[in-house]
Symmetry: D2
Subunit: 140 residues, 4 copies
């Protein structure tokens, strides 16, 4: 199994009145890792997939376990792997850590469906994406 992780900095504006990162923002960090994965491992920047190929991956299910609060100044390691691939759907796993060896501060599972951006109808995952996803299957 190939491994991939993006590095994300927690910014001044990303915390809430409780002084920690606002919980919906974790999903934003996962999406940043998703965008970087396309650029680095699929070989097609996500904006090109959407704008030129008219292919997108809207989310149909998302879940996250929050184990530890994040703070302004944290430099996060956001690992991404693939749990399952169907014809159109893909299940991604995310593990977010505050330092390389720390146990995850959050773990998430996000299911997306590959769609034609003009109709929003499901289409088969393009071969190029499928190959990259398969290389990053969890546990392989």
């Amino acid at each position: 199994m190939a491994r991939y992780a993006a590095s994300v900095k927690v910014r001044f504006s990303e915390i809430d009145r409780a002084g920690i990162v606002y919980y919906p923002r974790f999903f934003h960090y996962f999406h940043i890792a998703f965008e970087e994965f396309f650029e680095d491992r699929v070989g097609v920047p996500y904006h090109r997939l959407i704008d030129r190929d008219r292919v997108g991956f809207p989310t149909v299910h998302a879940e996250c376990d929050y184990r530890e609060p994040l703070e302004f100044g944290d430099v996060l390691r956001v690992g991404i792997s693939v749990e399952r691939i169907g014809r159109s759907s893909v299940v991604f796993l995310y593990r977010l850590s505050r330092s390389p060896r720390a146990r995850p501060a959050a773990e998430a599972r996000v299911t997306v469906v590959c769609v034609d951006m003009d109709t929003f109808r499901p289409i088969p995952v393009p071969a190029r994406c499928r190959r990259a996803f398969l290389r990053h299957m969890e546990g392989k």
Copy 2:
């Protein structure tokens, strides 16, 4: 069972490159309903709970099923109810609809833990909050 729903407008800036509301933002809409619930049904604005009483409800688990995309201009109805209350933890259910009678465009379950804001240690849910949560138990 008492019912509660907040009204939330989708703003110009809240969509993504796919032209629909960015999926992490659904959790922001749920949090707005949560804030409004405190003001309208608990009788303590959430900012006062945090700033004056030093009590907060950080999220430990969140999950959402996305059934339908949302668009700029949508006026959402975000219903909130309580599925379970423990000593410190509470499970909230959210149902987000694009119009009063439409089936939910998204349904979510968010588990929070009541903490002392100075130590982030769990504390029992304050009586006032507990009473309001009990009145909004799902199915009662």
Copy 3:
């Protein structure tokens, strides 16, 4: 001069590590007032102007004086008026107050240009918008 103001609540997530509203977000509050103005005074929701009429008003200049910090829980009054209208450009003034009679916590001037959304080329301000803008000219 007709007067218009939108009401905006400061949310839990909108403050920064300094505990006050993040300064770029003031411009977001101004844009919310701008969106509401279209719905209430122009008679065309902004999303319809963009999506159906393919007319938009991108910003070419923005400036803001910040006089007082804003806090989570504030209910803001965001006044909007028009300082100048050209063929394609419009200068809006915003005054943001924390309570009806308080002096503004922030004042801003935002210049927009009316464009064809398909080409991003300037076009004359549509008659319907112009009439509403003229009714809200500052000092008239």
Copy 4:
């Protein structure tokens, strides 16, 4: 004059219904450059300045000229320099470009005041910050 620029990627979620970066977000990009500047040139990460030294730089004035729209996928170069330093106030200039040699897509001037984070009262700019700011004075 020492030069400094941060690199910032435009993300999937940062555009608006018009398909371009939402104009308030430019100020967020400037703030990212400001945060990076503290880490790289002042030698104190901004979060440490705030959390440990209880020193902050809230904004009292901000203005921006927008020359060109930004798109999802753009990799921005955000240059920062200092136009003027007073006892407590500092005027920063920002130039944001879509590629190294391109003319700026936006130019901004942001005035901040150095404050004691516990009282929000102005205090003299700390020596360490002042030295770094002086090294990056515009035109020197």
